[in-house]
């Protein structure tokens, strides 16, 4: 008996019942200092049953997918729904129902299984070896790592409202890092929180330039050892896409999440400086700022066709010409707030309920090449690759650090500086946006590590961005 038939037998007599199955296979291969680390495979399989009944809502997650197992979970979910129908924060009779039907399979050009384990490990070994320097014996190098995280995600959703959805997504998250130490100074150079993660197969390695990375990371890390500290003071700041990813994520993505604005996260991830009345009125950034929610960008990490409440996903403008238009809220949050949103009700797996997540959140390209952006700066810093992130619970006061930076003087890129940091306030920072890079500066980034929710969930997000220039930012370096 297939899952749909078992669900039909298990579903109780309630207003609405949904089953969401997740079958996720992952594999982590890593090499550290020329030694193959223990390989890690994972097979995660289970289902969540959600019941809406008489205005209440309840869920139960189980890894027992037999009829009796699903029935026990459905009964528990129904019990929660009945018990809390009168005490819920929201009348779930107003919640959207999963009625759509469809299938989505993300394309893969070079399947993971098409290359032997030995060849994949050799690829990692080669990059790790290159991180040891040209003669592979640089004693300033203290740790070298490279890894590949591969995930195949299969989900099915069935509802008593007629919904039937199947999705299959493949993703690859490459990562590499070298740590160097000399003269009491330690520096690291890497790819930053698996920031090169994308959907697809092994073709991702070519798309992100993984081969040859080891040599570059070594070279740049060694340069950092002898570089001066980043200067301090207000100055122009040019951010590469691998730092823009973090900037977008923390100070646009999280503040626009509708469940935060509605207060759900105030005990954990925090609230938001954005309020419901700002949409359609608030100037979030300069008129150069265009931001979209776009689950349709091929290869971007959080691309999908339906969210985990079964809503079809499509591109939406969140900010246009700097004006705040729309929050990041899924169907349930939209019904609670009375605002249009996006299809972003997502769960990290079968054992956690969907909440508002940012998925693919992108800054749209502008007119300038990287050279033109640099030429617009009299005194400033160009920073790459996030190293540190901290922001207040309203997602306003932030401080971010990067691994790599170069001074910009009189429109020219200058010397490398180390320990670059900057701080600001979201509500004003984006209004200092003075230049947006064109498509030649744009990169599709992503990370599997966005934490939020009670119970906690870590989920995948994608952020595509051009290089962006900000005026008069409070920049500083490292010291004790």
């Amino acid at each position: 008996m297939n899952l749909r038939a078992r669900f039909a037998q298990a579903a109780p007599a309630v207003d609405s019942c949904t089953l969401r199955l997740v079958d996720e296979r992952s594999e982590l291969l890593a090499v550290r200092n020329d030694v193959v680390e223990p390989t890690q495979e994972r097979i995660d399989l289970g289902a969540m049953i959600t019941v809406l009944h008489q205005g209440g809502m309840g869920y139960a997650a189980t890894s027992d997918l037999s009829v009796s197992g699903l029935r026990a979970a459905a009964d528990r979910a129904a019990d929660w729904a009945r018990r809390t129908a009168a005490s819920g924060v929201f009348d779930h009779r107003l919640a959207p129902r999963a009625t759509g039907r469809g299938e989505h399979r993300a394309p893969v050009q070079r399947p993971w299984e098409g290359v032997s384990l030995a060849d994949k490990l050799d690829l990692l070994r080669a990059e790790v070896a290159d991180m040891a320097g040209p003669d592979r014996a640089d004693d300033r190098v203290v740790e070298r790592t490279a890894s590949l995280l591969r995930v195949r995600h299969h989900s099915e959703l069935y509802s008593t409202d007629g919904g039937e959805l199947v999705q299959e997504l493949d993703l690859l998250a490459p990562d590499a890092q070298v740590i160097v130490h000399a003269g009491g100074v330690t520096q690291r150079r890497g790819t930053g929180s698996r920031g090169l993660s994308r959907q697809g197969g092994l073709e991702v390695l070519d798309q992100v330039g993984f081969r040859g990375l080891g040599t570059r990371l070594h070279d740049e890390a060694i340069q950092l050892l002898s570089a001066p500290d980043c200067p301090s003071g207000p100055m122009d700041l040019l951010l590469a896409p691998d730092q823009m990813m973090l900037q977008i994520h923390e100070s646009i993505g999280h503040p626009l999440e509708l469940d935060r604005i509605l207060g759900d996260e105030r005990n954990y991830a925090g609230t938001s400086f954005v309020t419901l009345d700002m949409f359609g009125r608030y100037q979030y950034g300069s008129e150069l700022l265009d931001v979209t929610f776009d689950p349709g960008v091929p290869g971007e990490l959080a691309a999908y066709a339906f969210d985990d409440e079964g809503a079809p996903a499509r591109r939406e403008w969140l900010i246009k010409g700097g004006l705040l238009l729309r929050p990041l809220g899924g169907g349930t949050s939209q019904a609670r707030a009375g605002l249009p949103g996006v299809s972003n009700a997502r769960a990290c797996s079968w054992n956690r309920p969907p909440i508002d997540r940012m998925a693919n959140l992108n800054v749209e390209p502008g007119p300038h090449s990287l050279e033109q952006l640099v030429a617009m700066v009299e005194r400033g810093v160009f920073m790459e690759t996030n190293a540190s992130w901290s922001i207040d619970d309203s997602r306003n006061k932030f401080q971010f650090g990067c691994e790599w930076a170069r001074l910009i003087v009189d429109g020219q890129l200058g010397p490398v500086v180390r320990n670059p940091n900057y701080r600001g306030i979201s509500a004003t920072f984006w209004r200092s946006l003075a230049g947006v890079g064109d498509r030649s500066t744009m990169q599709v980034m992503g990370t599997p590590y966005c934490g939020k929710g009670e119970p906690n969930q870590v989920i995948r997000v994608g952020h595509a961005s051009p290089a962006c220039l900000f005026r008069g930012v409070d920049v500083f370096g490292g010291h004790s």
Partner: protein
């Protein structure tokens, strides 16, 4: 003799994997399971209530110095689960032929067996949730937001050498905030192994009593250096950040620890500072995924000096140090700091004029190698003048080194150490905890 149905299923699986082995093979099994109620609240009402039942088994197959493992979700149905682990063993056996020998492999080939089963039945989340709702609605109601977590958890280890370990426990934990307005809130946690309604009522009363202070006009502080009291919960955030590499033997060898300057003697910590990985007093199982028994205590910092590190089995092989019960990430699970001499009742007087920091939030490194960190104040952080709480404060960003916070700037350590159960529920409920006092610091730097 199985002590529970979950234990019986685990022993059955271990025996089944024993039978699947070929000559020259070994296995280890590591099980983490729970049946948990999660009830999420917002504005004194229920946002998302639910139950999660899950068991994840790590099956590792070993041939000499070759090994490979797979994490499997178990169904709970014995025949189905035997089939899953049998298929896993076959798959792992095929994989071992493609893998090189691992020079850093170390596992407990002569480990001791262990069984611990908590008394009584797991608390029922539905009953606790009812009381939370009643308390939130009392006296006109309060804006309560947070999560209730309750139910049973179990951890098991087994190996082909006959070792069998089992730890089964249950608990409830309410992690919640009472919100006055905006980001002005009182954050609390309360819980235990057995459901105690009077304990929840008492903590709720304490939190309610703090709310009037938050109604006062908030004080906006200018950047600068301030005298500050960090509550145990605030200090726990500092320790959480430090746990990210500070005590790891691997990080220390790679010169990547935020305590690098302590390691090299360029900086020092206060001689009153003592930190221990205190598994004996913590909530984590006393055995590891590699089958080793965890020592009751591992000294890390004694009298301000770095005296130890957390050594995983891999680091043990790589660096020639004895392993000491650390997991692969070499982070503390049960960090304990020795209390000092400042009684709770004297904290405000000793603070005099400055910041009473109830909670910190979102810490990270400004300069990791220098031990310099940044983060935000959060929740009921108040301004104190002449030993009296004056007003709540707008959130402030600090940027300070650990060598100032727990070194040259340390004025006093609280006389009471508080047990702080881990509230993390990423993937599953945490078994971590910390036992910390508060600290009084002079000249803590705030930047934004």
């Amino acid at each position: 003799m199985p002590a529970s149905p979950a234990h019986a299923r685990f022993l059955d699986l271990a025996q089944h994997v024993d039978r699947c082995l070929q000559p020259g093979e070994d296995h280890t099994l590591w099980l983490q399971g729970e049946e948990s109620d999660f009830v999420r609240f917002n504005r004194g009402r229920v946002r998302q209530p639910g139950t999660v039942r899950q068991d994840e088994l790590t099956v590792r197959l070993i041939q000499g110095q070759r090994h490979a493992s797979v994490d499997l979700t178990l169904s709970g149905e014995p025949v189905e689960d035997r089939d899953r682990v049998e298929a896993a063993v076959l798959r792992l056996r095929a994989r071992l032929g493609e893998l090189p020998e691992d020079p850093h492999l170390l596992w407990a080939t002569e480990g001791a067996s262990f069984t611990r089963i908590a008394d009584g039945a797991p608390p029922d989340g539905r009953e606790i949730a009812d009381l939370v709702l009643q308390e939130a609605a009392r006296d006109g109601g309060v804006d309560l937001v947070g999560i209730l977590v309750s139910g049973g958890m179990h951890t098991g280890f087994a190996s082909s050498r006959g070792q069998r370990c089992w730890d089964q426990r249950h608990s409830w934990l309410l992690d919640w905030s009472l919100v006055h307005q905006g980001d002005k809130a009182v954050k609390s946690t309360v819980g235990g192994t057995d459901w105690q309604p009077e304990l929840l009522r008492a903590r709720m009363d304490q939190a309610r009593a703090t709310l009037p202070v938050l109604a006062r006009p908030a004080r906006r502080l200018q950047p600068g250096a301030y005298r500050a009291w960090l509550s145990p919960a605030a200090l726990a955030e500092v320790m959480d950040l430090l746990s990210w590499g500070a005590f790891s033997h691997r990080s220390q060898e790679a010169r990547n620890t935020p305590l690098l300057r302590l390691l090299t003697g360029e900086a020092s910590l206060d001689p009153r500072l003592t930190l221990v990985e205190d598994v004996g007093q913590g909530l984590a199982p006393p055995f590891t995924a590699d089958g080793f028994t965890r020592p009751a205590q591992v000294p890390l910092i004694d009298a301000g000096l770095l005296v130890g590190s957390l050594v995983s089995p891999r680091s043990s092989k790589e660096y020639g140090r004895p392993q000491n019960g650390a997991a692969a990430d070499e982070s503390p699970t049960s960090l304990s700091m020795a209390p000092g001499s400042l009684p709770d009742a004297d904290v405000l007087r000793a603070l005099g004029t400055g910041l009473y920091i109830s909670n910190l939030w979102y810490l990270n490194y400004s300069d990791r190698a220098a031990g310099r960190m940044t983060g935000m104040t959060r929740f009921a952080t108040t301004w104190v003048e002449d030993g009296e709480v004056v007003a709540p404060t707008e959130v402030m960003r600090f940027d300070e080194t650990i060598f100032h916070l727990l070194g040259e700037g340390l004025v006093a350590i609280g006389a009471e150490a508080t047990l702080l159960p881990g509230t993390s529920t990423y993937e599953r409920r945490a078994t971590t905890s910390a036992r910390l006092p508060g600290v009084l610091v002079e000249g803590m730097r705030f930047t934004l």
